[in-house]
Amino acid sequence: MRRSLVAALMFLALPAAAQKTPDDYGPTPTPDDYGPSPSGQAERSARAASRPTTDQGETPPVVERLERQAPILQLAWRRFAVGRAGDAMPGTDSAMDGIMFEWYPVSSFVRFGLATEYARENSSRADHDWYLAEHLSLGLQRPGPITPFIEGTAGAGYFKRFVVSQVQPTAIWEFGANAGALFHFSGPAFVSVSAGWVHPVWLLVSVDQMSLTQVYRDSFAIKLGLGF
């Protein structure tokens, strides 16, 4: 009986001895070592309690942080018809697909942008015309989850045409206007859709007549973009 009592006392005493922190483990941690206490939660609860309530007793939502909802950079594709001077059917096979890299240094309710565009003829011809142009745009927009905008554009560049397999370097400039909207899907990220009108003008040099001719074209344009 006595032996049993001693064994029971030793069994109860061992765990306490085993859980004692050895001296070489360093000082005993304090609550500060585990980071700040969740006091922010308490402060938020206090702020919510102090907010004004509606007639129905509901607390109106408070926006903690405003997201930017105006474009800064955009990569876009657009399609329009630039035409083909001297062609019997200038509207045939004259669609251009352009890739535009756009930067908006001013973007609030007013937007001002710079765009570099590379466009290539979309046709079944063996040689494809292409151009490289720089555009300026100025417009108005209403920042929001859906940002509608309207803008005018002007640009100029180098147009490399091929006629009967001969390269025809051509100066080109262009005016336009378009309207559309940005649809924000994740913070400042957006997709954009717009449509409008473009008015490209080519400067043709007539060798036989030693003259300069400006050939213009009016075309519908559609543009899709992705940016933030």
């Binding site: 035409g83 083909r84 001077a85 001297g86 062609d87 019997a88 059917m89 200038p90 509207g91 045939t92 096979d93 240094p105 001013v106 007013v110 001002f112 011809r125 063996a126 300026l136 100025l138 005018g152 002007a154 640009g155 100029a156 006629v163 009967v164 397999s165 001969q166 390269v167 025809q168 370097p169 400039w173 005016f175 008015h199 003008v201 080519w202 043709l204 040099v205 007539s206 060798v207 036989d208 007549q209 001719t213 400006q214 050939v215 213009y216 074209r217 009016d218």
Partner: protein
């Protein structure tokens, strides 16, 4: 920055909005007509260059490059001549002659029809030699007396929209 952008846009606008509507057929093309007025041709220059004309005949060429007038080594030459036969017969004779000279070349079995911008019906064929390095195309349009033939010789394919546009700009006088 906005002020500069507006200034730039105004400067660009001052350059011009264009003289000729490019949506119109053969916009910006030059015109040639012999003194007889028997035919006329609208052609884009460059690349087409007027080489010379005599009577109802004329020659045009596409130089090897934009900065060249070396028509002796032209990429494409065009010769326009009067023929005494009807367009159908002239085209068939031209096709037969080409096949006889290029037995291993590729050519259609018979000429086909083509219409110019004036609505006149012509007859044509396009062919290429066996190595596909020399190309040939002939087009004939009826005239009040006989027909006029456009004979193309080139080092690039000639059955293309660019050459067809030139053909469409050819017109014979109806009187």
């Amino acid at each position: 920055l906005i002020r500069r952008a507006i200034l730039g846009a105004v400067l660009v606008a001052a350059i011009g909005c264009g003289d000729i509507n490019g949506a119109q057929p053969l916009a910006g093309a030059a015109h040639y007509q012999p003194e007889s007025g028997a035919w006329s041709l609208a052609y884009l220059s460059p690349p087409w260059l007027f080489v010379g004309g005599q009577g109802d005949s004329a020659g045009f060429a596409v130089a090897p490059s934009l900065l060249s007038i070396d028509v002796a080594h032209a990429t494409v030459t065009l010769t326009i001549d009067r023929h005494q036969t009807a367009a159908d017969a002239a085209a068939q004779a031209g096709l037969d002659a080409w096949k006889a000279a290029h037995p291993s070349g590729s050519a259609p079995a018979s000429p086909t029809n083509i219409t110019n911008m004036a609505g006149q019906m012509g007859v044509e064929f396009a062919a290429a030699d066996a190595s596909a390095t020399e190309f040939h195309r002939e087009v004939y349009f009826d005239a009040p007396a006989g027909c006029f033939g456009l004979v193309f010789e080139g080092r690039v394919p000639l059955d293309t929209a660019d050459v067809t546009s030139l053909v469409a700009g050819f017109e014979t006088a109806t009187q």
